[in-house]
């Protein structure tokens, strides 16, 4: 984090003769954008009636295929898939019941973006984490990197498969529209807005109605903050929203990259040179070629 890209390139150029210098502008993280200005959504589980209108709105806009139940009566996806980018799941406890919406959280510091070798996943300045299949090589590292288990892979196709996940309707935001799912939600359990405004709204709801909510806005700080945030009446772990701490997931990895890569590229050759100069010379060069 502390080492600039230019410093890294300098090191890389020194060490392996510019093999990496052609790498060009390789920056995939969030830049300087203000997370409070990001496009975001607030999902209030206490207001959700589980109608799945959001799931349908998502299908219609993104033209994904329904995943019907065995009798072909209802669209009944069991979990997120290459065809289902968002869905409502039911949590049934002993005495409590809640719905929970599943979809990409559009992290402020996304691990998928940090891990993607070819910048196929990018954090845009408006907030959405987008995907470019022309770049993607299909390595599926993003699926492991994501702490929320969101990116899905199109396993079934014999064509070139893609990584599939919610785009936060980046293609609608461009035209000044809101996300398809939030627009369709009949109970306003899901609302769209600027991240900063939604945080203020959510915190107001908690303070005005402390009995209704768990005193925590999930996604405000979790995993370094997300653009999709949750209010709930039941503990978040029960809804599958794990306690991930507040450190951005890529922090350790990127910090290591910034130290280790230039360190080895510069330190390695220096160390080898020193070893070579101090080690005693053997006479083997003559006895056996190479």
């Amino acid at each position: 984090m502390t080492l600039s890209r230019r410093d890294f390139f300098k090191a890389a150029g020194l060490a392996i003769g510019g093999a990496l210098i052609t790498a060009g502008p390789a920056q995939a993280s969030t830049g300087e954008a203000d997370p409070n200005e990001y496009a975001a959504m607030l999902y209030d589980a206490t207001m959700c009636v589980g109608c799945n209108a959001c799931t349908n709105a998502c299908r219609q806009w993104n033209k994904t295929t329904a995943e019907p139940d065995a009798r072909l009566l209802y669209d009944a996806p069991k979990e997120l898939s290459a065809d289902t980018w968002t869905m409502i799941q039911l949590y049934q406890g002993e005495s409590e019941t809640s719905f929970v919406k599943r979809q990409c959280m559009h992290c402020v510091s996304p691990a998928c973006v940090s891990g993607c070798p070819v910048q196929a996943l990018q954090k845009t300045a408006e907030g959405p984490v987008t995907y470019d299949q022309e770049r993607c090589i299909g390595c599926r590292y993003c699926m492991y990197a994501c702490p929320f288990h969101i990116p899905r892979f199109e396993w079934g196709t014999a064509q070139l498969p893609v990584i599939a996940k919610c785009t936060l309707c980046a293609d609608r935001l461009k035209d000044g529209l809101q996300t398809a799912c939030a627009e369709r939600c009949p109970t306003s359990a899901l609302i769209f807005g600027k991240r900063g405004d939604l945080i203020a709204d959510a915190e107001k709801r908690i303070s005005e109605n402390p009995a209704r909510y768990v005193d925590h806005l999930y996604g405000k700080d979790d995993a370094g903050g997300t653009s999709v945030m949750y209010l709930s009446g039941v503990p978040f772990e029960k809804l599958g929203l794990e306690d991930l701490g507040t450190m951005p997931i890529p922090e350790i990895s990127e910090g290591t990259a910034n130290i280790l890569l230039p360190g080895i590229l510069v330190g390695g050759p220096i160390l080898l040179g020193m070893i070579r100069m101090t080690a005693k010379r053997g006479g083997w060069e003559d006895t056996w070629p190479l």
Binding site: I137, Y141, I264, L290
Partner: protein, 379 residues
């Protein structure tokens, strides 16, 4: 091995036919996988996006690291004892990396655009996977240069051999730096998975642990291969060489053990070790069989016998395999565990590609000069 490396040029070794059959089966299945896609040909799923190929790659890379360890020792630490094993180790490394490359190519879903990892505007230098991809590719090219004299001398091109010999310290040096980078980055790849990988294996020290593991695993693999091949070829085995390999191994094993124990204690993970579950057992097994046992062998008088480093190598490799298996597969927890068993296609593509590597190795042993003449072996 014995059947493969027999120097009788008139007989085709018995092992040739089954290896050829496995290789051809593997190639056929690889084509099948490319035609029908990953969903049909493998058992991977959204719950197990990576399967046996990645695990095998993670294991083969440190084993093939033999080439890097041996060049480091012989070119830079001036250990002439290692000189007789440079060629066999470099060829094994090269073929190992070829197998890794083929398996990775088959594993990526959008294989026709694999070259995107080299496109300057696409490269993400924060991605350790990108870093591994670039370094492994460049390192494979370095290994081609290092092994080229074996072929060039046979075909009578002396000039390029002289160029390579003149530049060997630069070539080997670049290869060593690239190896340091990608062997450690292989561990760094899992730094992003702090919430998924089992805490007994996840640590910020993963790059260092993977690097040390690559060094001792490469040395162990060398000890195993040299003992088997030298025996099969009837070459006298150099005990001094074996003791040196064993000593180098033990230093790296001790460093690994110190960091591993330090991490477990520092992170307060000792209770997890005492938990009677599969992970507690695996962690103990890996530590005792893969670290303590080889160390005990190497620190005893056995290090002076060729079987000492040989068996230390065997146990170290078992330990490395367990670590790579846990880190890339069973230790990556999922909220709703769905079982994954590799499909026939996945298993036999893996076996086929390795068989192909062994086959090529055997052919090079047979038709080119990979091993020193007996009078040079005991320098």
């Amino acid at each position: 091995m014995a059947a493969l490396t027999r120097s009788n040029k008139n007989n085709i070794p018995i092992a040739f036919w089954p290896l050829l059959a496995l290789t051809l089966l593997g190639i056929g299945l690889a084509i099948y996988r490319l035609v029908v896609g990953l969903g049909v040909s493998t058992n991977m799923s959204d719950h197990y996006p990576w399967g046996i190929w990645i695990t095998v790659d993670l294991f083969l890379i440190p084993v093939a690291g033999a080439a890097f360890t041996i060049s480091l020792l012989s070119y830079f630490l001036g250990r002439e004892d290692y000189h007789s094993i440079i060629r066999p180790a470099v060829l094994a490394g090269f073929l190992g990396y070829c197998v890794v490359g083929v398996l990775l190519f088959l594993d990526i879903g959008r294989w026709p655009q694999f070259y995107n990892i080299f496109v300057p505007g696409y490269i993400n230098l924060h991605s350790f996977l990108e870093e591994v991809s670039l370094c492994v590719t460049l390192y494979t090219l370095i290994l081609i240069l290092e092994i080229a004299p074996v072929f060039l001398e046979k075909w009578g091109y002396t000039v390029p051999i002289r160029w390579i010999q003149r530049g060997i310290f630069v070539i080997a040096g670049v290869g060593i730096v690239l190896s340091m980078l990608h062997q450690s980055s292989l561990g760094s790849m899992f730094l992003l998975m702090s919430h998924k990988l089992h805490p007994l294996w996840w640590t910020p020290a993963l790059p260092l642990l993977f690097y040390l593991q690559a060094v001792y695993t490469g040395l162990g693999a060398t000890a195993i291969a040299v003992k088997l091949i030298w025996k099969a070829m009837g070459l006298p085995i150099d005990r001094v060489l074996f003791r040196r390999i064993g000593q180098a191994m033990s230093i790296n094993l001790m460093l690994y053990a110190a960091i591993k124990v330090g991490d477990w204690m520092g992170a307060g993970e000792i209770p997890l070790l005492l938990k009677p579950d599969a992970f507690g057992f695996l962690a103990w097994f890996q530590f005792l069989i893969g670290i303590v046992l080889p160390l005990a062998i190497l620190l005893s008088k056995l290090v002076g016998h060729t079987s000492g480093p040989f068996w230390a190598g065997v146990f170290a490799l078992i330990g490395t395999f367990i670590e790579r298996l846990v880190v890339s597969w069973i230790g990556l927890a999922e909220p709703n565990p769905v079982s994954y068993v590799p499909s026939f296609t996945e298993v036999f593509i893996t076996i086929g590609m390795i068989a192909g590597g062994v086959l090529v190795y055997g052919a090079v042993v047979r038709y080119f000069k990979l091993f020193p003449d007996p009078e040079h072996a005991h320098a």
